[in-house]
C-alpha cells in the first residue's frame, strides 16, 4: 500500500513548447514505416476554439497487443523501431499528429479482451492536471462492443472515443468541454 503522499500536479503553463517537444516526438513508430498510420486531430476548448498551447501524449500496445515492459505478466516484447509512445504539441491551429502502428487487442480483467486502443494524455495551459482519454478504432465494431472500458461508457458519449477514418490513418478530435465533450477518465 502506498505510504508516501504524492507530489501534486501543476500546469504545463504557456511555455511548454520550449521544454517538452522532441524532434522525433510524433513518431511512435519510425518515420516511413509502411504499416504506420497517422492519428491527427484538433484540441478544442469549451468555446470551440482550437487550443494552440497543448500537448498530446500517447501510449499503446504493439500490433500483437504486447508491451515492451516488465510489468506485463506475459513478458516484455520489444519491437525494433517501435517506441509505443508519441508526443506532439498542438500547433497554432490546435492540431496534433502521431505516427504509429495500430495496436492489437489487449487482455482485460477476468478473461475479457480489450479492443485495440491507445491511451492519451492531454496537457495544456489552463489545465492544472492532465486529462486522460482513449482512442478506439472505427473498423473494430464487434471488439469495441465487447470492450470492458468502452462498453461502460453510456452510448451517446461512446462515439467521442472512436476515431474517424482519414486518408492516411485516423482523425481523433479532442473536445475539453461542451456539447460533444470527449469522455475523460480518472486514472
Amino acid at each position: 500500500m502506498a505510504r508516501y503522499a504524492t507530489t501534486p500536479s501543476q500546469t504545463v503553463g504557456p511555455y511548454l513548447h520550449i521544454g517538452l517537444p522532441w524532434p522525433d516526438g510524433p513518431f511512435a513508430v519510425a518515420e516511413g514505416t509502411p504499416e504506420g498510420v497517422w492519428i491527427r486531430g484538433v484540441l478544442y476548448d469549451g468555446a470551440g476554439a482550437p487550443v494552440p498551447d497543448g500537448l498530446i501524449e500517447t501510449w499503446q500496445a504493439d500490433p500483437e497487443g504486447r508491451f515492451d515492459h516488465p510489468d506485463d505478466p506475459r513478458g516484455a516484447v520489444a519491437r525494433p523501431g517501435f517506441r509505443a509512445f508519441g508526443r506532439c504539441p498542438t500547433d497554432a491551429n490546435g492540431e496534433y499528429g502521431i505516427f504509429t502502428l495500430k495496436p492489437g487487442p489487449v487482455p482485460g480483467p477476468g478473461g475479457t479482451l480489450q479492443a485495440p486502443h491507445i491511451d492519451v494524455s492531454v496537457f495544456a495551459r489552463g489545465m492544472l492536471h492532465r486529462t486522460v482519454t482513449r482512442v478506439y478504432f472505427p473498423e473494430e465494431a464487434a471488439a469495441n462492443a465487447a470492450d470492458p472500458v468502452l462498453s461502460s461508457v453510456p452510448e451517446p458519449e461512446r462515439a467521442t472515443l472512436v476515431a474517424r477514418p482519414a486518408e492516411d490513418g485516423y482523425r481523433f478530435d479532442i473536445r475539453l468541454q461542451g456539447e460533444d465533450e470527449t469522455v475523460f477518465f480518472d486514472v
Partner: protein, 245 residues
C-alpha cells in the same frame, strides 16, 4: 489464495491520489474556465495499458542536458544553483533510470519562447531546458540558474513565484506527472492561483525545495534539494482473486 504454481500476480494497480492534485475547474486560474471537462471523469481500471509505460533511456539525453549553464559559449547571467533530489514512488521505492525533463525562465523571469514578451531581456547564454535520467537510486541532479519571478495577466498585478517546470514518467502511464518546483520562502505564493489551487496546504509544501547548504559547491553554486513522489502501488492482487468477480 490459490497455491497453483501457474498463478501469477496480476499487474499491480496504482494507488488513486486525485485528492492530492488541483481541480481541473479552478476559477482563480481563469484559463481553466473553458478547459475543464464538465461531465466528470469516468473511473478507468488499471489494466495493462495503464500499468505499463515508456521506459525511455539514454537516447533521450545529450551532452550538457543536465547542466543548463554550459549549453552556450558563454555563462548565463544569474545565481548558479544545483537542483537535486530523489524520485520515489508512494511505497518509498526509488524510481531508477527514469527521464526527468525541466524547463524554466532565465534569471530575470523571461522564457526563451516566442509567446513570452514581457520587457525583460533574453539571455543569449541560457535556453532554460534540461533533461536527465535518474540513477539506480532514483537520484537526479541539474545545474542551472535560479529563475526569476514573472508577471502574467491572470488577475490584477499577478506574478508567478519563481519556479522550475518538471516532467516525470515513472514506469507506468498512471505515474506520469508534470509539476513545478518552488523555492522556500517565496513572498508571491499568497496570490498565486497555481499554488492555491492545491487543496491541501501540506501538499503545497511538497512542491517547495529545501535549501541545501551541505551540497552547495563552494565558490561555485548554491544547492536546493527537492524529492519527488510518484504514485505507489495498491496491495498485490492475484489473478484468481480478480477472476472471482
Amino acid at each position: 489464495m490459490s497455491t497453483d504454481p501457474t498463478t501469477r500476480p496480476a499487474p499491480p494497480a496504482y494507488a488513486r491520489d486525485a485528492e492530492v492534485h488541483p481541480p481541473l475547474d479552478y476559477p482563480g486560474y481563469r484559463s481553466t474556465a473553458l478547459r475543464h471537462p464538465k461531465r466528470g471523469l469516468r473511473l478507468l481500471p488499471h489494466l495493462l495499458t495503464e500499468v505499463t509505460g515508456p521506459l525511455l533511456g539514454e537516447d533521450r539525453i545529450s551532452e550538457n542536458d543536465s547542466d543548463l549553464t554550459r549549453q552556450h559559449d558563454g555563462e548565463p547571467q544569474g545565481q548558479r544553483i544545483i537542483v537535486h533530489g530523489q524520485v520515489r514512488d508512494g511505497d518509498g521505492r526509488p524510481v531508477p533510470h527514469t527521464l526527468v525533463e525541466i524547463w524554466q525562465a532565465n534569471a530575470g523571469g523571461r522564457y526563451r519562447h516566442t509567446g513570452d514578451n514581457w520587457p525583460c531581456p533574453l539571455d543569449p547564454n541560457f535556453s532554460g531546458v534540461g533533461r536527465t535520467l535518474t540513477d539506480d537510486q532514483g537520484r537526479y541532479r541539474f545545474t542551472t540558474i535560479r529563475p526569476g519571478a514573472y508577471p502574467w495577466r491572470n488577475h490584477d498585478n499577478a506574478w508567478r513565484p519563481a519556479h522550475i517546470h518538471f516532467s516525470l514518467f515513472g514506469r507506468a502511464f498512471t505515474q506520469r506527472l508534470v509539476t513545478q518546483m518552488y523555492f522556500p520562502g517565496d513572498p508571491l505564493f499568497f496570490q498565486d492561483p497555481m499554488w492555491n489551487s492545491i487543496p491541501d496546504e501540506k501538499a503545497r509544501e511538497r512542491l517547495v525545495a529545501r535549501f541545501d547548504y551541505a551540497n552547495t559547491a563552494p565558490e561555485w553554486a548554491l544547492a536546493y534539494e527537492w524529492d519527488i513522489v510518484l504514485r505507489g502501488r495498491e496491495a498485490t492482487v492475484f489473478e484468481d482473486e480478480v477472476d472471482e468477480d
